[in-house]
């Protein structure tokens, strides 16, 4: 091994947010299945428990989402970290995809080098942008409306009725579920399967000289 550098990649608020969020979303997915398909699934005992758990997890995820948002907003890094630059959209995406689906199998290093200010490759940026700025706010919003049907009826009617909210909430939840599979899988694509998961836990990432991370 050539000299290894440690860089502080994931600040504490982001890590707290991330694992609260992960726990919350997994709970939401499982209780959500029970709520929509009660005949086929009763992991959490009674239907009412599933609903209570789903509501609680929903609130926790919404709050931790706000934590994440305000942390990045205050630190002024939101746009830098999450919004892909025109160049990245034009060439970066293709280069990164080419890496994932071809060069990775040959054993080549990732074209992206993670730094605290630029920790995501263009594919990550695009995916996280969609997840964090479109999917998450919309699921949270529809969820909050569905939790308070009577008090918020007028807003529900404005959106086109309960059924459209349910449809949007359900399909977005499925999309988050789909993201989750991909995301967890990609998290194992580091030098070792836990190379990316450790920094998300401890904050510190070990980089190998200039052969920087195959950051997913």
């Amino acid at each position: 091994m050539s000299e290894n550098k440690m860089i502080y990649l994931q600040p504490t608020p982001v890590r707290i947010w991330h694992w609260l969020n992960a726990l919350g979303i997994v709970t939401l997915c499982i209780t959500g299945i029970q709520i929509r398909f009660p005949e086929f699934m009763a992991i959490f005992g009674s239907y009412k428990t599933a609903i209570m758990l789903h509501n609680t997890a929903g609130i926790v995820v919404s709050l931790s989402f706000s934590l994440w948002f305000f942390y990045y907003k205050m630190s002024g890094k939101l746009a830098k970290i999450y919004v892909p630059k025109p160049d990245e959209l034009k060439y970066g995406l293709v280069r990164q995809a080419f890496f994932y689906f071809f060069r990775y199998f040959r054993g080549d290093p990732s074209p992206h080098h993670a730094t605290p200010d630029n920790k995501f490759n263009p594919m990550q940026k695009s995916a996280y942008l969609a997840i964090m700025f479109v999917l998450m706010p919309l699921v949270a919003l529809t969820g909050i409306l569905l939790m308070n049907v009577t008090p918020l009826r007028e807003l529900i009617l404005l959106s086109g009725g309960l059924k459209i909210l349910v449809a949007v909430h359900f399909l977005l939840a499925c999309s988050l579920g789909a993201f989750l599979f991909t995301h967890v899988y990609l998290a194992t694509l580091g030098r070792t399967p836990t190379a990316y998961i450790k920094p998300m836990w401890s904050g510190w990432e070990e980089t190998e000289g200039d052969e920087a991370e195959v950051h997913h």
């Binding site: 091994m1 050539s2 709520i35 929509r36 398909f37 009660p38 005949e39 009674s46 239907y47 009412k48 609903i51 209570m52 509501n55 994932y100 689906f101 990775y104 199998f105 040959r106 054993g107 080549d108 939790m147 308070n148 049907v149 009577t150 008090p151 529900i156 009617l157 086109g160 009725g161 309960l162 059924k163 459209i164 349910v166 449809a167 359900f170 399909l171 939840a173 499925c174 999309s175 579920g177 789909a178 993201f179 989750l180 599979f181 991909t182 967890v184 899988y185 990609l186 694509l189 030098r191 190998e208 052969e211």
Partner: protein, 361 residues
């Protein structure tokens, strides 16, 4: 042999007829038309000036009842010839005389000592369960069980108690019925105000909107006394949707009189996991001039449609849409492409990456 058989058949037939006749006569009153049966009394009693307000009978609400067809005298059989000048208080037949089964059932219930028939029913304004809105049924209970107190009491264990108590008449949970159905009511913004509260639309309001046609034509555009999914969709899309909309209420098919807290209703899955099959039937309840409601059959599966038919009625778990389920499954399957496809190639090419890291050491 043949003759004995015929004889037996004859005897059986007569017995059947006798039983039927006994049953028909059980009430002891014929109730064909309302003609003439109440006219003499109503000459004074329909008029708020001839009698004190508390003695006035609202003929609009009385005339359509089954009780109007048996007439005043059937119940008030002690009216003296000198009435009202003689001030003799007339005898009132009790409900039990004619409604023996109901009275017995109610008598056995825990609620029997708590309220009498007259506390819930006004004998001059009775309706069959299918002629009455859930709200009006709840008004029967509200005189003793106030809305606020009930919301607080049920909210202790029932999520979104306000929503449940708004969409389920009390009797749906507190009386036993074999089956339930969704009745769709037309509700309307108060006073044509686009921000007004929604209330059950009255006959007069809908009559105005129908512009001279039968109010049924507001939804039943082809006048076949049957509401198709297409007709529901059209209704929901129409301009007046901002003022009018459909509200689904879950009602029991039969109302029994064993009012109690049922163990099964405590379990949400009684309604929410009944499976989409249970939610096939719905009816449309249209108001009548006399304040009662008429139900019209709605095509099967209206409340199960993804969006169009009942855009604002959804029972979680029970009225999920099958097409949406498939779309959702496809999305999730899409998310598995990366782990499965990439994972496979990754496994096949694992040697390449090992060589690389060796080269570096």
């Amino acid at each position: 042999m043949k003759e004995t058989e015929n004889l037996l058949l004859l005897i059986a037939g007569i017995t059947l007829l006798a039983v039927a006749a006994a049953h028909a006569g059980e009430e002891g009153y014929s109730y064909g038309s309302i003609e003439g049966k109440s006219d003499t009394c109503l000459a004074c009693h329909r008029d708020g000036k001839a009698v004190a307000p508390r003695y006035r009978i609202d003929t609009g609400q009385y005339n359509h009842t089954s009780h109007a067809r048996i007439g005043c005298a059937a119940c008030h059989d002690g009216i003296s010839p000198g009435h009202p000048a003689d001030r003799i208080v007339s005898k009132k037949t009790s409900c039990n005389q004619c409604h023996r089964d109901t009275a017995e059932e109610y008598g056995r219930s825990k609620h029997a000592g708590k309220a009498s028939c007259g506390d819930c029913h006004n004998p001059h304004q009775v309706s069959a369960p299918e002629e009455i809105s859930g709200q009006e049924m709840n008004r029967m209970c509200a005189s003793c069980h106030s809305k606020e107190a009930m919301e607080a009491r049920h909210a202790a264990w029932l999520p979104q108690a306000d929503l449940h108590l708004g969409m389920l008449p009390c009797v749906t949970c507190h009386t036993a019925s074999e089956n339930y159905l969704i009745t769709l009511h037309i509700i309307k913004r108060d006073g044509d105000n686009p921000y007004g509260e929604f209330r059950l639309a009255t006959f007069a309001e809908l009559d105005k909107l129908a512009e001279g046609k039968d109010i049924r034509s507001l939804i039943d555009t082809n006048s076949d006394t049957y509401i198709s999914l297409e007709e529901l969709r059209q209704f929901n899309q129409k301009q007046n949707q901002r003022l009018l909309r459909l509200q689904g209420v879950m009602v029991p098919e039969q109302v029994t009189h064993d009012f109690k807290a049922l163990e099964s209703r405590w379990n949400c899955t009684f309604c929410h996991a009944s499976g989409p099959k249970a939610m096939q039937r719905s009816t449309l309840a249209l108001p009548e001039r006399n304040g009662s409601f008429t139900r019209i059959d709605v095509e099967k599966g209206a409340v199960l449609e993804a969006l169009g038919s009942t855009p604002d009625f959804y029972m979680t778990g029970a009225t999920r849409n099958a097409t949406l389920n498939k779309v959702g499954l496809a999305i999730i399957a899409g998310g598995l492409v990366m782990p499965v496809g990439h994972g496979f190639l990754r496994f096949v090419t694992r040697k390449n990456r090992k060589e690389r890291s060796h080269r570096h050491e």
